[in-house]
């Protein structure tokens, strides 16, 4: 209770209330995330249940009644008669799941390695940061593709579809830990030189407790900013990989897969099959990005 009151009185919340962009993007992101989570309840059709599909419904334009069945769909249907709105909701589930899981993975790995590098220093620091530097010189998307390719080479062909999502999470997560590690290390190095850390040493705290109890809480803000920006990047990375055909398997289409499918119909006039998934992806990435941008501007000048 007291915490809630402190939060409501904080400069952070004050700034939030005064920033229409922040409120807007937070609301949009929240609605999108909620509708993805609740997709089975919201979606009018289950696009993965062949029983509900009717090929006759194929290529119905948004809002139009189908010439054969008379059914109509808010966002139209694709070539197989699947409701685009429903496929988007289910696709977003996969996109968001991959995004969140990849960021969580990158966060744990990056924070652990970054803190270790800052606290231990010396050779350990050099090795961790050199690996990070080398990896950073290659764009995350390329690293993710390489890891994806390698993992594909290792897994037997019959299992590839089953593990595809996990491979995707692993490759995006592994391509993104560097951001966390660098920021955490940088921030922790600054904190480590502060006198409260010397004071903690002096009263008898060991380095691990100092790292977790004293330093970590002081750099949470930077981690939060990076995590938000990373989420947008991870969602885009997933979409890109799936668009290129090296991401989510056809049995579990994400937003990127839907766009890949829709691209084929763009030139023949069925614009909605591409348009709505693309718009959803843009809204999702944009709202998370705006939120991250605002967080960075708000939290950075004064980390208190």
């Amino acid at each position: 209770m007291e915490n809630i009151r402190t939060f409501l009185a904080s400069d952070f919340f004050y700034a939030f209330k005064r920033a229409p962009v922040a409120i807007f993007s937070f609301t949009v992101a929240l609605i999108l995330i909620l509708s993805a989570v609740l997709a089975p309840l919201i979606a009018p059709y289950n696009p993965f249940d062949p029983a509900t599909l009717n090929l006759m419904n194929g290529f119905t334009a948004p809002g139009d009644a189908n010439a054969f069945t008379g059914e109509s769909f808010v966002m139209g249907t694709d070539d197989q008669g699947r409701d685009v709105f429903s496929t988007i909701l289910y696709g977003m589930r996969i996109s968001l799941f991959v995004g969140f899981a990849a960021v969580l993975f990158a966060l744990i790995l990056g924070v652990a390695l970054g803190l270790t590098a800052a606290m231990v220093g010396g050779r350990t620091d050099t090795i961790i940061m050199r690996i990070a530097d080398i990896q950073l010189s290659f764009p995350a998307i390329l690293v993710a593709m390489l890891i994806f390719g390698i993992a594909k080479g290792i897994t037997p062909p019959e299992m590839r579809n089953q593990v595809a999502i996990w491979v995707l999470i692993l490759s995006i997560g592994l391509s993104d830990w560097v951001q966390f590690a660098r920021v955490v290390r940088g921030a922790a190095m600054v904190e480590r030189r502060k006198e409260y850390v010397e004071a903690a040493t002096l009263i008898g705290r060991g380095p691990i407790i100092i790292a977790l109890r004293h330093i970590l809480p002081n750099i949470v803000a930077s981690v939060l900013v990076i995590a938000t920006i990373s989420l947008a990047l991870a969602i885009i990375a997933e979409a890109t990989l799936s668009f290129l055909g090296v991401g989510a398997p056809p049995t579990q289409p994400s937003l990127g897969t839907l766009i890949r499918i829709g691209q084929g119909f763009l030139f023949s006039g069925e614009w909605w099959i591409l348009f709505f998934p693309a718009l959803t992806l843009l809204l999702l990435a944009l709202s998370v990005n705006l939120l991250g941008d605002w967080l960075r501007n708000t939290l950075n000048p004064n980390m208190e």
Binding site: Y14, G122, D125, T126, R130, K194, E195, Y196, E198, A199, A200, T201, L202, I203, G204, R205, H214, P217, N218, E304
Partner: protein, 568 residues
Amino acid sequence: MALLDIKNLTIEYPDRHGTFTAVRDVSLSVDRGEILGIVGESGAGKSTIGNAIMGLLQRPGRIGGGEVYLDGDRLDTKSYAQMRPIRGKRIGMIFQDPMTSLNPLETVEAQLVETIDLHLKLGEKASQKRAVDLLDQVGIANAAERIKQYPHEFSGGMRQRVVIALALCAEPDFIIADEPTTALDVSIQAQILELIKKLCVERQVGMILVTHDMGVIAETADRVAVMYRGNLVELGTTQQITQNPQHEYTKVLISAVPPSNHRVERFIRVDYQGASDGRVKDLDLESHWLGEGVKRGSREGPILTVENLNKVFKSRSGFLAAAGATTHAVKDVSFAIQAGETFGIVGESGSGKSTIARLVTGIHKASSGQMDFDGQNLRTRPRGRAAVLHRRQIQMIFQDPYSSLNGRMKVGSIVAEPILINGLAKSRGEAMELAENLLELVELGPDAARRYPHAFSGGQRQRISIARALASRPRFLICDEPTSALDVSIQAQILNLLKDLQDRLDLTLLFISHDLPVMRQMCDRIAVMKLGEVVEVAAAEDIFEAPQHSYTQQLIGLMPKFEKPKAA
């Protein structure tokens, strides 16, 4: 009419909580060849006045009322662009930190020539000649050669001379110097102040010298304006303000300045609006928690001895690079501190005085030498609980009150943490109670425990820092520049508190500072350090009255003199 005339100037900063008035209804005037000192503590609004004259108020600040005239020419109504030909040409400005005031990517010559040519339109050749002359006049030897160098090739003091030369480029009538010597060592400070004074008289320039340092004012200014929270509380000659202050606040300010010519037992009036003298309550160590289980050694003999201590820092630039440069921060240092005394280490930046504190506390490892604390070797890892607790009797108070407290922990937890780690209380509840008790001892209310550090001012934070140090039941307290980040009246309060606690708790203090007048107030004996070496150890009075080593003599000679009659 005076050269600079300020009438009823008000400066406002609108923000989330309404409009903050940084300067209220201030009227001042400065004549040619005169130095007006503006003195005050942080938040007094003294720097704001200088920025307002220049038309360089930081957003969202604005002039809310009043008039500013330079030689009859009204400035406050001019736009930013209209002010441009006046800035640099008629009013020069000197900034605080010479390390960041110069463009690092251009030679000193390029920066001087650009400014000279802009205002005087002399052309390339003549501007270059004038630039060399200016550098020569501000006391840079070999000006013709050094002018080709970049700022990073100059030392701090030399850079400040370059900054002054830049301010003088176009022969301005008026100069605003904003804390021009605060970032410099004492010996450099004296030279720069000498230079500023000389230039003012020779060129008949009027000057506003903004500073928090009464010593600087006493040595340099002709007249003084005292500011408190945006108000001009007193204006008078330097003689009158320092010797016979009229306003209550000025009296407090003057009495809080440590006199350079003698030692006072306590600073008498240290609080302007609250009226407490802040004397620590008496307490009986025999029965108090702080005295429990602490073996009180006899007061005879040394409690800490240091012999031939050395510390070499290696800067390792990792990966493929060979071991980098080494710095010999502490060279063969030996001294012994007697139980119950206050031992001071004084020196300029880079003298190694703070490194010694970190070697004694074990934050840094010594390269060689011997350190003993009350019979325990400090260079080996303590074995067993008793030995560990013994080691914890050395505690430290740090310089920066903002970075020395963990902003994410409540004050109560900060103070209780050492009690809990060292098992000095039976339960968490008892530890919290003890923490509140300690906070009261340093004169913070018990409800301080439930708040976060950012709710406290610098001086209050320093008290929290002291309470945390006391929570380990220390017998030996290291104070590393404990007041150098504080305003002078707060400094006096903290120094009083430290003296009281030392009395009540039978503490031995190692007091580290660059500030000689403060040292004179606090220390029984003083070691003078220069470039890692101790050049002289003597009783405090002897250091000030009869310094033996030539470096000590030099330091004492250059110290800003703020003398007060003994009775004050």
